[in-house]
Subunit: 259 residues, 2 copies
């Protein structure tokens, strides 16, 4: 347990330094202002290299423990596209889209990416990987994310963490399959936002959609068991009537609290 806490609280010696002097707030503000959810697109094609570039940039988003629990299904065949449009209730944002991407949250991805992290550490020659990081992926990740058969292991963890939490600061989850869903959706959404901003930076609009028939989406993309659709993102050039009205946001004071 002492070691477990050290993993979190000690600053490791890694012998690595990466500077950044990036600073361009005005440009980012313009980008945020320019991004609007677009409901109607023109028939202008989105170049393949733009699609690939934006999808790759999305994968640079931060994510939980770098376990990259996301997948992006880029819809390229007319048959699949038709099915996704129908699953999205034929809404114009899907129907008129040039491209559709189904973002999938993958609660089981740690089983693949956890070991890949360890493999990458082994291969890293220039960086001294601290023992705590290796222990983290070897021991803590499986302990934290495996909920066991029917979630029974999670139930056991909930009890242990409750009692531990009476004495000291203790993460209370994830301890159920639902917690794992939330876990995966959060990281996937971080990447989705990077994806949408990326398209806007390339001169294209997007619309994130959640109003769809999940069962039909899964069938259309032949999604292997385990994942679940997070959102469908449509892409294209906005039509004259693509934006349904001025942006509506309520007063900041409703959402930002100083404590």
């Amino acid at each position: 347990m002492a070691e477990e806490m050290d993993i979190f609280s000690k600053i490791p010696e890694v012998g690595y330094a990466e500077q950044s002097t990036y600073n361009n707030p005005q440009e980012f503000e313009k980008l945020c202002e320019a991004r609007r959810s677009c409901r109607v697109y023109t028939d202008e094609h989105v170049p393949e290299e733009v699609m690939r570039k934006c999808l790759s940039l999305a994968l640079l988003a931060p994510n939980s423990s770098n376990l990259q629990c996301w997948q992006f299904y880029w819809v390229r065949t007319p048959d699949v596209k038709n099915k996704i449009v129908k699953a999205c209730l034929s809404q114009p944002a899907a129907r008129t889209a040039q491209e559709l991407v189904v973002a999938v949250a993958h609660p089981q991805m740690w089983r693949t990416t956890g070991p890949l992290m360890l493999k990458t550490f082994e291969e890293q020659k220039d960086v001294e990987v601290p023992r705590s990081a290796i222990m983290y992926y070897k021991k803590l990740v499986p302990l934290a994310y495996n909920q066991g058969f029917l979630g029974l292991l999670g139930l056991g963890k909930r009890v242990v963490l409750f009692f531990r939490g009476l004495k000291k600061p203790t993460p209370r989850g994830p301890v159920s399959k639902n917690d794992m869903k939330v876990w995966a959706h959060k990281s996937t959404a971080l990447a989705c936002q990077q994806l949408m901003l990326s398209f806007r930076a390339h001169g294209y609009d997007t619309c994130p959609m959640e109003g769809y028939d999940e069962t039909l989406i899964k069938k259309a993309i032949k999604m292997p068991k385990g994942g679940e659709p997070c959102m469908v993102i449509s892409v294209g050039k906005r039509a004259e009537n693509g934006i349904y009205g001025p942006r509506i946001r309520f007063d900041d004071s409703l959402f930002i609290h100083e404590v």
Copy 2:
């Protein structure tokens, strides 16, 4: 039902047009490359106007049905900060941070923001708000997001939607309190990513944290019932040893699927 479908599939006449010629992919790529999760910060202060600006920009993120189901608790008092640091297991990313923001997902926010959308529509003079939009917030939003006492209404909806789904494309959720959590966390995470990019665009680093004692976080910020912490984001100037190693991402082919 026919009308319900029209809400989704018809393109409304709104008499509104908003162009965008924003295009600067190189700058956004630089920003994505520059954003790294920072674990150790210097003692350089983050100006108050940067904090306010970035928090405001975060609120421009897209979100589910524009119901803005997010809250950001900006930690400003030393006592609360100490408590949050402890709740974050005293990890350096929290301990050395200049600023801490607790992002909270709020599954009940639609009860406040749904009516606010209707009020805003009434006040809009320049735009012709389509009847479908008014019906959407008046009828569909409460129907979709209210899960009832003990989630019993949600259970009923699950059955109805299952049978409807046998015949035509039908959204299968949200039909439970857990679905509502996922719903709120997704939108909140979209805003979190915009927040982190915004800080980097202003020359500051961030670290999103999930390894915390949720119970202690809630107590520290005196969070009203209903919401739940999505992530804690620390902010500051990166120290020499702030980045623990080169960015690790696995091959795109693991995450991007063409279908």
